[in-house]
């Protein structure tokens, strides 16, 4: 288990919580520390509360835990909201000169640290900097050298001019000095700095960067939490690489624009969340049957309907696997970490073009809103490969024309993969349609041709099954009797849960699956295990159903659908409990 510190700032939406938290995360990252952040948006009580949480260690951190050591509380409610995570000795920094905070009740055993945030900020040049004063105070408590904030403040305020940056630096120092002078107390923390260089990014940004790396040139989308950051990341950046982001009038238009761009030969994508996937499902079958390569990203949030828009869930799996009328060939890929969001995006583009079908790339809210540090080498652009599949130009087109000289976009090749000719290619003019079609792309209801085309599309998937690696990531003890399976973003929490379980003498083999269709056959792994536990963030256990279907074996299920992701320590106790209940273990 990493030696970690858990820090948070919380208040009302509009209090600048996000940007303050980000400054602290950035400062830690620049100081060579690992960081894993999370955000609380809405409330268990009523709207408005928001918090930015930072877990930091010199070792890699992959999860949030159920513990908060230092809390900057801009409102009293921030304390109430975090009572579960606060513990004996937790430090709560607050402004006791603020009228609403004068009678704040600091729970027994915790250390209340009143700091006149507003007054000190005004001294530094303006009340607006009170959060930065609090950051300085937190640095004093955490034993984190204040200079580390400077670079992050420069990054945040640099474009506002040198004076503003300096005022903020001063505000931070006033906060730090106040704590150092007023509280002659050793809080017991000493945040070590290292020479390591890390990058700090979230899952949406990693997907956007992966798209550009993969040569994506066209993005159409409609804003929706938590996918909007993909679009905002690409806006302005993709332009520098000859691309364009288009904000469409709705998701129906977004996917159709992306489809058009893909037919024109561009690598194209769209990203959305559940409600948008519902709309895009209308066109999904057309993408598949016209054999158009397209990457459709679903950053999942809690459903159904509008659900809990700012809450975590992995509830869309069935929709991604089975959504749409008719039988639609597709791939479903779910990156398991933020770095993997980058790589799986690159891979999704290659898969889409090699096999000429839609690829669902699905992450979720917890990947989207978490900022995590990585060594920059994890995003090695030289390792990016682009495979466009069977694209033919003028020189190669002849061999794909029929006896009347017509190009055959749906030629039923042995591997199921037909040639692609981009518009503008001489002699390549062809149509395609969402109606069942012949090899020329023209409508048909001829039984033989229908069967030939359905089989051809299915053959592509079989070819992909053979040619590509649909593997999983493995952690823990490979010989353990207990097998834990999960998909998508639970990997981080489960990886850390292994350490908690290890402390209790529980050996676990953990298999984290990023491919949902096609997917690895887990039969041998399941057969080898005495107890199989499937962990996922939904109520019904959609992945567990798949595992049972594939392996013909009953599995145990750990499901969470509160809207909050798994925390490493909490997950460890859930697994411990399952093992205690499990008949195999009792026997």
């Amino acid at each position: 288990m990493p030696e970690d510190l858990n820090w948070a700032i919380g208040g009302e939406a509009g209090d600048g919580i996000d940007s303050t938290g980000k400054i602290f995360a950035q400062a830690l990252s620049r100081a060579g520390r690992h960081v894993f952040t999370s955000k609380d948006f809405a409330s268990r009580i009523r709207g408005g509360y928001t918090a930015y949480k930072v877990r930091t260690s010199v070792d890699r951190v992959d999860s949030v835990v159920d513990r908060l050591d230092i809390l900057i509380a801009l409102t009293e409610r921030t304390i109430d909201e975090n009572l579960d995570e606060l513990h004996d000795g937790s430090v709560i920094i607050y402004d006791d000169e603020r009228t609403t905070m004068q009678d704040v009740n600091i729970p027994e055993g915790m250390i209340g640290l009143p700091v006149p945030l507003k007054r000190l900020a005004e001294e530094a040049g303006g009340a607006i900097m009170r959060n930065v004063v609090a950051l300085g105070a937190a640095c004093a408590v955490a034993g984190f050298p204040i200079e580390n904030l400077d670079e992050a403040l420069e990054k945040r305020f640099g474009d506002k001019g040198r004076a503003i940056v300096e005022n903020n630096e001063e505000a931070a120092r006033l906060g730090q000095e106040y704590v150092a002078e007023e509280y002659d107390y050793d809080f017991g923390y000493e945040l070590e700095c290292t020479d390591a260089d890390y990058v700090l990014l979230n899952g949406d940004e990693a997907i956007g960067m992966g798209a550009i790396a993969a040569g994506c040139r066209f993005y159409a989308g409609y804003p929706i939490t938590p996918a909007t950051d993909v679009m905002e990341y690409l806006t302005g950046r993709i332009d520098q690489f000859g691309g364009k982001v288009v904000q469409a009038e709705d998701e129906l238009a977004a996917i159709n624009m992306a489809l058009g761009a893909a037919r024109a030969g561009a690598r194209a994508m769209t990203a959305t969340s559940g409600p948008g996937i519902d709309l895009m499902t209308e066109t999904f079958g057309l993408v598949a049957t016209s054999e158009t390569p397209l990457v459709i990203c679903d950053v999942m949030r809690s459903g159904p309907s509008t659900g809990m828009p700012t809450k975590q869930e992995q509830g869309d799996l069935d929709q991604l696997l089975y959504g749409g009328h008719g039988e639609v060939p597709r791939f479903v890929v779910a990156p398991t970490t933020i770095a993997e969001c980058f790589w799986k995006t690159v891979e999704a583009f290659n898969l889409a073009e090699k096999y000429q079908l839609p690829v669902y790339l699905t992450s979720d809210l917890s990947l989207a809103v978490t900022e995590q540090t990585f060594p920059p080498e994890e995003f090695d652009m030289d390792a990016v490969e682009v495979d466009r599949g069977k694209v033919v130009d003028e020189s190669g087109i002849e061999s794909w024309l029929d006896d009347k000289g017509r190009f055959q976009p749906h030629y039923p090749a042995e591997d199921g993969i037909s040639p692609r000719a981009f518009p503008g290619t001489t002699d390549g003019a062809h149509m395609t349609t969402g109606l069942e079609h012949d090899s020329l792309g023209r409508r048909t209801e001829d039984a033989e041709v229908r069967v030939e085309q359905v089989d051809k599309r299915a053959r592509k998937v079989e070819t992909a099954r053979r040619e590509e690696t649909w593997d999983y990531r493995e952690f823990g003890d490979p010989d353990a009797d207990t097998l834990v399976l999960s998909w998508g973003s639970n990997e981080g929490a489960m990886r850390e849960a292994l350490a908690f379980l290890d402390e209790k003498g529980i050996d676990v083999r953990f298999v984290s699956v990023p491919y949902l269709y096609p997917r690895p056959d887990l039969t041998p792994e399941v057969d080898d295990a005495e107890t199989v536990i499937v962990v996922e963030c939904n109520a019904t256990g959609q992945f567990a159903d798949l595992v049972e279907h594939d392996t013909l074996t009953r599995v145990e299920r750990v499901n969470k659908y509160t809207g909050v992701r798994f925390k490493a320590d909490e997950l460890a106790s859930e697994i411990e409990q399952k093992l205690a209940e499990s008949p195999e273990v009792q026997a």
Partner: protein, 287 residues
């Protein structure tokens, strides 16, 4: 393709299955002629067709083409054109496709003013599904699903286009081959979204909006002193529900298409076989 393109080069070898006498024959012929006469050939042309009798046009013409989902042809055309500005993009569909299920896209495509052509084959009926009311059907037009008529006024597509900031708004009649061809040509040549509403009669299910009706009631603006660059005059004509006008009703002579405003001029199809130059700078941004 040779440089001598004839309009028949745009014809596929699939025989149309439209009812004999259907207005769509004339509409399609004019489109093919207009494409040939504006110097296009099938290999640089992309047709997006909607769903309906009208949407079958993608099959009967020869070019790069996609026959998509009901009502979504316009966004597909926008994606094609922005991804490869060298292509001539033409979108065609019915009045149900464009003004009912696709009405939202119509308004936004007009606003966006991408350099492409949109031909609506307006027969004031749903042809393919065998004769239900369409959004341009008359208020009292009786059909199986509207025994008392739709009981609501028809949409005025030209007015929608004008209100949405349309830069080229024309109306033609499929049986007036010469004028129809000329109007589609002008829409193609227009710098921006060239919209042509074509009266394209359905001889099977609409016995009100017939060839005779249109022939008797159409006013050809080329025979008047109408100035299409005069916005107020265009507005008056568009809101005049007593007449069926044919011609370019409105054209904004300083229209700048969206792609040009956004600086898009290159095809997006060509990409390197690894990450593009400068991609590593994206990683550095996250320090």
């Amino acid at each position: 393709m040779s440089s001598e393109v004839r309009f028949t080069d745009f014809k596929s070898d699939k025989q149309p299955t439209w009812c004999p006498g259907c207005g769509d024959f004339g509409t399609m012929n004019g489109m093919m002629k207009a494409l040939a006469e504006t110097g296009n050939d099938p290999d640089n042309t992309f047709i997006v067709a909607g769903i309906g009798c009208s949407g079958k046009i993608g099959t009967y013409m020869h070019s790069y083409a996609l026959h998509g989902v009901h009502g979504r042809a316009l966004p597909v055309g926008i994606g094609v054109k922005l991804a490869n500005p060298d292509l001539e993009v033409m979108v065609a569909g019915g009045d149900g496709d464009g003004y009912s299920i696709g009405a939202g896209h119509f308004i936004h495509a007009v606003r966006r003013n991408v350099d492409m052509t949109y031909v609506v084959m307006d027969n004031r009926i749903y042809g393919l599904t065998k004769g239900q009311a369409s959004p341009t059907s008359r208020e009292d037009f009786q059909t199986a699903t509207t025994p008392k008529g739709p009981n609501q006024p028809p949409v005025n597509p030209l007015a929608l286009a004008l209100a949405a900031g349309g830069t080229f708004i024309a109306q033609s009649f499929s049986s007036d081959s010469q004028r129809h061809t000329e109007l589609v040509k002008r829409a193609i040549e227009h710098d921006g979204f060239g919209f042509v509403n074509v009266y394209s009669p359905c001889v099977t299910f609409n016995n009100v909006d017939t060839y005779d009706y249109f022939r008797d009631s159409i006013v050809d603006l080329s025979e008047t002193d109408h100035d299409p660059t005069d916005y107020d005059d265009a507005k008056r004509k568009i809101l005049d529900l007593d007449k069926e006008y044919m011609g370019v009703i409105y054209q904004h002579d300083e229209s700048v298409p969206y792609g040009r405003r956004e600086g898009l001029s290159e095809s997006m199809a060509d990409i390197p076989d690894g990450a593009p130059d400068g991609a590593t700078d994206l990683v550095r941004e996250f320090y």
